[in-house]
Amino acid sequence: MTTRTKPRVRGGIGEDVVRPDGIPKLTGNFAFASDLVADGMLWAATLRSPHAHAVIVSLDTTPALAIPGVRAVITQDDVPGHPLFGQEKADQPVLCDGVARYWGEPVAVVAADDPETARRGVEAIAIEWEPLAPVSDPEAAENSDHIFRRINVRRGDLGAKGEVVVEGYYEIGTQDQAPLGTEAGLAIPDGEGGIDLWVTSQWVHIDHGQIVRCLDLPDHMVRCHPAGIGGAFGAREDMSMHVHISLLALITRRPIKMVYDRSESFVGHVKRHSARMWYRHEATPEGRLVRVTAKVILDGGAYMHTSAAVTGNAAFFAVGPYVCDNVELDVVSVKTNNPPAGAMRGFGVVQTCFGAESQMDRLAQELDMEPLALRRLNALEAGQPFSTTGQIIEGAFPTTAIIDALESFPLPPPLESDDPVHLPGGTGLTTPRSAVVRGIGYALSAKNLAFSEGFDDYAEARVVLTPVGAEVHTAAMEVGQGLVTLLQQIARTVLGTGHVAVVWDDTSQIGSAGSTSASRQTQMTGGAVHAAAVALRDKVLDDHGADELREDGAYRDGERVATLEEICASGPVDHWIRFRHPETEEPDENGQGNLHPGYALAGHRAVVDVDPELGLVRVVQIDTAQDVGKVLNPKALMGQVEGGILQGVGLATMEELVIDKGIIRNPTFTDYLLPTSLDAPHVNAVFIEEGDHWGPFGAKGAGEPPTISSTPAVAAAIRQATGKALTRVPILPQDITGT
């Protein structure tokens, strides 16, 4: 008997395939939204509210229109359709409706021949305000019943009590996604009353639905095109300039371009909800969790955006990957006059993970247990009911395997260098080595994958076989995370051809892929492409009586029976699909039900060096174990893990938008600190590949988990080094020195 070896396709899953957009990005040729130009285009600029809460007494745009080169000015009165937009609830006026509800709310937009003239037009608008008192305290907002969503989780016996009790209050400051590319867009009128639009986005179809409503146009007259995006992390989940530049393009009949500068970007997108959290954990003397009680307030800012879903995540992941049968959680997002909050990597789970993991450490200390030993004792696993929702866990849920992996990483060598680059504070500040104390901390997290709570979540994709290979058509946004590479790898593996191109369709050419968020595209659009490619392959094999598809055609028993040209003799062969994940349901009044299609876990161990006298911290190393289902591209995955971890380190040690009575005091890269190459710890990662119950090849989304438990792990390590309670992140030098 002869054995036939199947030729392995080049660039399939599991390989370190390089990004197809890598070369244009490395040579400066990649077109980001901010690089787009069109003949005859005008530039737009936005007038924004200088108050967190104020009434417009008078507004006169004529002085702006009198400036040579200013072509149009729009205000809310010019919006032809629905006056409000918003992803979960249309509650934000396209432009200020007479009352500004946050600092930086857009009031009017000017189109002019060049950016400077547009800016001068903005300054010339005559506007008089009557300031009102802003609601900036989230507790006051809750007391006045300014609520976006309230969730009360009630599970088990609410009379249950544990003999060992720890309580804590925790806070998390406002983090900004700070994607490197600011908001940018180009709207081009099509000459027939419609618009083609390229704007930084994470979900062009959800934008499209809101835009046509506000413009009062039929669906087909607005086409949202996937544009080149300089990072997202949640910042593009909600609309920015979309309606503004579309409307100006319709009015002026000229293409309109707009680019936010950095300070404007800080007010031009939603940010991570700041949170206040009160926790009580009760356990047996052996350390088994008996009951978790918590109250959480998330500051949603002035408009709703995705606050409802963020609130759900904060509530349902408020305990972590642990067994606990009695849970009482009151989680609320409130409406204030602070900048609107919405999506950011980790989406609600970052907040309560920090609270819950800080509590687990406190409990371990109370019980005189090692932090990982307590977590191991309480580890939740597949097949058990989820601690908050009661949902029986399907799919991989390897909590114990993550703890095992964290325990097996070697520790870094002790600090031996006197070189200031290796000391907390770096070359800019003087810490002697003798002052440095090392600390080690751990944290675990569980996060839902894809959209939950009964949302009809789907992704469309079309896979086409052509005489030269295959095309994948999708509107899923590539924001830098590397979906484009994974889609190629998935299609190559199924179709046996190395030649796969990803084609970005606009909203008129293909249906929604859903949002590039919630760690969902690997599984959702990846799942759609996988399913479409399998169906396409099987159809071709059937039609040609073949048993295998290869780069140069269909084969039976190792003999070619049709070339790709022959297969496509009467045109390209394609398969279109709408892919859905396992159905979920809405929570009942106690927050119970099958709410989540799947989960991803992560664990982090942080090693830090701290100068307790100066309050300086250097994160030396982060070791992580992550539940990824299956590794599709090792280097791309590592990039997601390292990048996500550094955002978590940033939240733990430096990143905070300082908001004072609704006004952002540090909307610049000078004052909002971001981790640099000198702040980046060494990262070691172990990937646990247990294969999920849905998704391509068992892979799970991997983007968010790195950001979630890295923050509490760093906080725990700083606590261990300093002996301080440190209940708020970011942990700043004065929190450590106590001055």
Binding site: F30, G230, R262, F669
Partner: protein, 154 residues
């Protein structure tokens, strides 16, 4: 006023109003869109160019001060078929995600390697400390240098 300067080896002139940054002139007047504009406050390095031998933030340099200067932008290095070895290493090591920081990293990284072909990790981190990358956590970028160092010793 008119400024004459050499960009990527070619003589160029630009008409400026007076206060434009070199970055604005490169991007808006000369159509060289490779240099990016993530902050225009000198804090991120996405606009890094080599000006008379030094890596600078083009957003902080007044174009009017560039009369007679020699400027190298990302467009000078490598093409699709013929990448600079550092660009190739960045590609292979996934030092690129969204790519918005990438032109600045390429300019800074290549200039570092020209001045110091075998930099230590500390020297690399120091040289890149003015180039913010929000996506990669810098791991892939640092491994690109490692890869070059390994290739150099093979």
């Amino acid at each position: 006023m008119i400024v004459s300067l050499t960009i990527n080896g070619e003589p160029k002139t630009a008409t400026i109003g007076g206060f434009e940054s070199l970055l604005r002139v490169l991007r808006d007047d000369l159509g060289l869109l490779g240099s990016k504009n993530a902050c225009e406050q000198g804090e991120c390095g996405s606009c890094s160019v080599v000006l008379d031998g030094e890596v600078v933030c083009a957003c902080l340099v007044m174009a009017a001060d560039c009369e007679g200067s020699d400027v190298t932008t990302v467009e000078a290095y490598g093409t699709g078929d013929d990448l600079h070895p550092f660009q190739q290493a960045m590609l292979d090591e996934h030092g690129v995600q969204c790519g918005f920081c990438t032109p600045g990293i390429v300019v800074t990284g290549i200039r570092l390697l020209e001045e110091n072909p075998t930099p230590t990790e500390d020297e690399i981190r120091e040289a890149l400390s003015g180039n913010i990358c929000r996506c990669t956590g810098y791991g892939g970028i640092l491994r690109a240098f490692d890869r070059l160092a390994k290739e150099g010793t093979e």
